[in-house]
Symmetry: C2
Subunit: 505 residues, 2 copies
C-alpha cells in the first residue's frame, strides 16, 4: 500500500539530534520502498545451479577434524579435507537456519531483530590504523577504540556496538579480545560483536556475555553476532571453524562471510563470484545446523574486486555493487539473513574518491535489502584505517538512508494540496507552518550557505567538519548506565584471564 506511510524521526528527532545526539536511537531499518533487483527468477536459478554444482562437483575444504566429524553425521562425501554434498541434503540443513533472530543488548531497548525485513548497521571493523583528529594516520590504541565506541553509541543509525571497531594495537594480541568486548559493553549498551581470532577468545566472549546476561539466557538466546571469513576459493581454516563451532554451540549468530576478491580468490565475474561465495557460505551454515539446529546464521558477502594492475583489493566498484545486489537476491531465495559491507573506501584520505568508493557500497547494500550492514562508517584504505572525520560524515549518510528507506511521504497529501492552492502560482511555501514542521532531510555537515561565508569560516572541508563534530560529541558523551557489580565482575574476569593467558600466546 502506498498511502499512509508516516516518517519516523523527522524534524523532532533532528532537533534532538542537534541538541544531544545520544538521545536518538533509530529502530531497525524497515523498508518503505520495494526491494530492488538486478536480475529475474531465471538469473537467480542460474546462480543457484552454479552454487549447487560447486558443492556437488568441486566441494569445499574444511581444515579441521572436528568439523569433518560433523560432516560425517551427514551424507556428505569426504575426501581428506574436501567435503562435497548433494544439493538436496545441503538445502535441508540450510533450511534450519532461522530467517531472522533477535540479537539481545544489555539494554533491552537496544535489542534488535535481524532478518525478515529488519536491517541493522554495525560499526567499522578490524582496522589497525586510525586517521586521527589531525588527519594523520597512526596505529590505533585502546583509547581510539573507546572513543569510537562512544561515537557509535551516540549515532542514531548505528544499531550495534563493537567488536573490533579498530584494533587496540597497544594491547597484547592474546589479551586484546577481553578489552574489546569490555569496551563495547562499557561504552555502549547496544548489541555486541564477538571475537573470532581463536577458539579460546570466542569462549572468553561467551563467558563475558554469560556474566552480563546469566548462563541460561546467554546460551538460549543470541547475545553476540560474529564475523568469520572463508579463505576463498572454497577453504574454511581451523581458526575460523573453531570460532564458528563455539558460537553455534552456544546459539550465537555468525556471519559466514567468504572474503571474496573477484579476479583473485573468486572468478573475474560478478555472477561467478556470487556462485562461489554462496557455495562456501551455505556449506558453513549447513555445518552449524548439524552442531545446533536453529542456530542463527547469516550469509555474508564483503564484495571486493582485485585491481589487476596492483593486485590490491578494491572496495567500491560497480562489480562489487552487482555482487551485493545478486547476493541479496540469493539470500531471499534461500530465506536466510544476509550481511553486506556498507561503507569501505579504497581511498587513503578524506577526499572525493573516499565518498565515491563508500557510496558504491552504501547504495547497493541499502537498496538490496541486506539485513546486517557491517562497516557503517569511517573506513578508509580498504578497511585498514578508520578516520574520525569520515566516521562522523558517514553517520549523517546513514541517517539519510534511514530517512530515504522510509519511502515516499504520502501521509499528508490532502493537506499539501490545500497549501498549494492557498500559496498559488507565484507564491512561496517558506512561511507555511507545514514547511516549518518539515520532515525534509538536511545533512548537518553539508555547508549550504554561500561560498563567501564558507571562505571566511576557514574553507573547512568535510573531513575537518567531521573531526570537529567528533570532538563535540566526545565532550557531550554520557556513559550508559551499568550496574556497578556487573562492571566489577567483568573487570575481575579480565584481570583473571589476563593473568592466565601469557602475553605471547
Amino acid at each position: 500500500m502506498a498511502t499512509g506511510r508516516r516518517r519516523q524521526g523527522g524534524s523532532k528527532a533532528r532537533r534532538a539530534a542537534v541538541a544531544n545526539a545520544a538521545l536518538v536511537h533509530h529502530p531497525e531499518i524497515r523498508r518503505g520502498i520495494p526491494v530492488m533487483e538486478v536480475t529475474d527468477r531465471e538469473g537467480i536459478e542460474l546462480i543457484h545451479d552454479f552454487a549447487m554444482r560447486v558443492v556437488e562437483e568441486i566441494g569445499c575444504d574444511f581444515q579441521d577434524g572436528e568439523s569433518l566429524d560433523y560432516w560425517r553425521q551427514t551424507g556428505a562425501e569426504i575426501d581428506g579435507d574436501r567435503v562435497r554434498i548433494g544439493r538436496e541434503e545441503l538445502l535441508e540443513l540450510v533450511a534450519k537456519v532461522p530467517s531472522s533472530y533477535i540479537h539481545h543488548a544489555r539494554n533491552p531497548e537496544r535489542s534488535v531483530r535481524v532478518g525478515d525485513g529488519h536491517a541493522v548497521v554495525s560499526p567499522s571493523y578490524g582496522a589497525p590504523f586510525v586517521r586521527d583528529m589531525e588527519s594523520e594516520r597512526r596505529y590505533a590504541t585502546l583509547e581510539d577504540l573507546n572513543n569510537l565506541q562512544k561515537l557509535n553509541h551516540m549515532a542514531s543509525t548505528v544499531h550495534i556496538a563493537g567488536g573490533t571497531i579498530v584494533e587496540p594495537v597497544d594491547i597484547a594480541v592474546p589479551h586484546r579480545h577481553l578489552h574489546m568486548t569490555y569496551s563495547g559493553l562499557k561504552f555502549s549498551d547496544k548489541p555486541i560483536i564477538g571475537n573470532v581470532t581463536a577458539r579460546e577468545r570466542a569462549e572468553d566472549t561467551v563467558d563475558m556475555m554469560k556474566i552480563v546476561f546469566g548462563d541460561e539466557f546467554a546460551t538460549n538466546n543470541t547475545v553476540t553476532t560474529s564475523l568469520i571469513n572463508a579463505n576463498s576459493p572454497l577453504v574454511w581454516d581451523e581458526t575460523m571453524l573453531d570460532a564458528l563451532k563455539v558460537y553455534a554451540t552456544h546459539n550465537q549468530a555468525v556471519m559466514c562471510s567468504p572474503f571474496s576478491m573477484a579476479a583473485a580468490s573468486t572468478p573475474a565475474s560478478n555472477v561467478g563470484t556470487v556462485g562461489v561465495v554462496l557455495a562456501e557460505a551455505l556449506m558453513a551454515m549447513a555445518m552449524t545446523q548439524v552442531i545446533r539446529p536453529g542456530a542463527p546464521m547469516l550469509f555474508g558477502v564483503p564484495a571486493m574486486t582485485v585491481a589487476l594492475n596492483s593486485g590490491a583489493p578494491v572496495h567500491g566498484s560497480p562489480d562489487s555493487a552487482m555482487v551485493q545486489f545478486l547476493s541479496s537476491s540469493m539470500a531471499r531465495f534461500y530465506k536466510i539473513p544476509h550481511r553486506a559491507i556498507l561503507n569501505v573506501a579504497t581511498s587513503k584520505s578524506g577526499d572525493m574518491q573516499a565518498a565515491y568508493d563508500s557510496m558504491w557500497g552504501l547504495f547497493p547494500s541499502m537498496l538490496s535489502d541486506a539485513n546486517w550492514l557491517t562497516m557503517g562508517g569511517g573506513m578508509l584504505e580498504g578497511a585498514l584505517t578508520v578516520g574520525y572525520g569520515k566516521t562522523m560524515i558517514d553517520f549523517e549518510q546513514l541517517d539519510a538512508f534511514y530517512h530515504f528507506l522510509q519511502g515516499p511521504d504520502f501521509h499528508d497529501l490532502e493537506e499539501v494540496f490545500e497549501i498549494t492552492k492557498k500559496v498559488g502560482p507565484g507564491g512561496h511555501f517558506l512561511g507555511e507552518s507545514h514547511t516549518l514542521n518539515s520532515n525534509l532531510f538536511i545533512f548537518e555537515s553539508q555547508h549550504n550557505n554561500s561560498y563567501e561565508q564558507w571562505d571566511v569560516e576557514g574553507r573547512l572541508d568535510s573531513e575537518a567538519v567531521g573531526v570537529r563534530k567528533a570532538q563535540r560529541w566526545l565532550q557531550k558523551y554520557e556513559l550508559p548506565a551499568m550496574d556497578e557489580a556487573l562492571d566489577e565482575a567483568l573487570l575481575d574476569y579480565i584481570a583473571r584471564r589476563t593473568r592466565e593467558i601469557p602475553e605471547r600466546g
Copy 2:
C-alpha cells in the same frame, strides 16, 4: 531474460581509454537491469490525481500573450495569465509528445536516441565560476568553456556537447550564446544544447544549426535539445516561453523543467513536490503540442530542497532522490521522456561531501531510468561552480554506472564454472587467461596501492589527481573534423550577428 547478456566496452575499451580517451564513445545507456521503483501503482495514481487537481483547480500562470493565444485554441479556461484545463484535454495533448526522439549530431555517429529505454548524459550547465587547475574559484572564461567542451568531447559516457557548460563571463551577455553554440560545434561533434535566455538567442541557435544541417533537415529533425525552467510554483515567464515557442516551432526538443526547491517553491513534501512540478511541466508540454504536434519534449525535474536554516537550495539529499525516483515513475506513466539532474554537489570544494552530494543524484537518476541526465560531472556549490578536477573524477563515475547498468554478466557462466573447478579450493584465479581478459571495472583515479606508496607519491587527493588528468587530456585532445567551409560560415554568422546585436542589449 537473464542469460546471454554481454558487456559492451570492458577491458578492450578500457585499454583504449587509457591510451587515448577520445577513441571511446559509449552509445546511449540501455539498462540490463530492471527499473527500480519506490512506489506502486496506487502511489502513482495518487500523484497523478494530485497533479490533475492542480491543473484543474489551481492552474498555472503563462506570462505571455502569444502563449495564452495558443491556450485559446484549446478548451482551457483562461483568467488573466492563469490557465486551467481539464485532465482529459491536457492528457490528449500530452499524448502527442513522442516517447522518444533522435537528437542528431553533426557527426552522425554521435547522434543519439532519447527515451524508450535510451538514456544520454549531458555535461555541466550554467555555472558562472570554475574551480581551476590550482583549485581556486574564479569567474569562468571562454577558454574554460572550450577546455571543458574538449574534456566532455573525450569522455566515454558523456553523449552531449555544450551549451553553457560554464558561462563565458568574459564575453558580453548579448553575444555569449553565439560563442557557446560555436564552442560546442567546434570542439566536439556530439549533439548540442540550445540557448534559451531570449527569443532572439534561441533563433540564433536555430539559424546556426541550419548552417550546419541545412534548412530543411534542421527543422524537420531534432538537432538541439534545450532546457527551460518554470518559476515554481506554477509560473512560466515570457523569456522561457519565448524560447520554448521558438524551439517547438522548429521541432526542437525542450526539457520543460520546473526549478523546484522543496519547502520554498514547492511544498515541503517529496510527494507534493512531484505533484506540483508535474502539473507545471505537463502544461508547458501540452502547449507545445498546440504549436507543433509531435515536437519532442521532456519532463524535467531538477530535484532540490531548501535548507530551512539558510534558505539556500540544497542538491543531494534523500528527499530529492525520492523526488527523482517518483518523477521517473510518472514519466513512464505518461510515456514521455524524462530529464534528471545527475551530479551536482552543494559542497564548495573537492571533499567527501562533494562526492556524497553527487551520489544522491547519480544513483537515483541512473537507477530510476531517466532518459536525459544533465550535469554529468564537475558541478559544485549548488551548480554555481564547475571544478576541473571534479569533472574528471566524475567522468569515471559515469563510466562505472555505464558498466553497472549493463547488468550482471551471465554470458560466460559455464566457462567460469570450469575455471573454478580447475582452480579448486585454495587456488587462485589471478593467472587465468579469463582473469587477464577480465571485464571487471577499475576506477583509473582510485589509488588502490599501498598507503606507503601513496605517501611517497605526494599524498594526492582525488581532486589533484583529477586536475592532472584534465591536463593530460587537454594535451592529448584532437579537434574533431569539421569542413572548413562550414567553420567559416559559422564564424561569418557570428561576426555578422556580433555587429548587429549591441553589446549592452
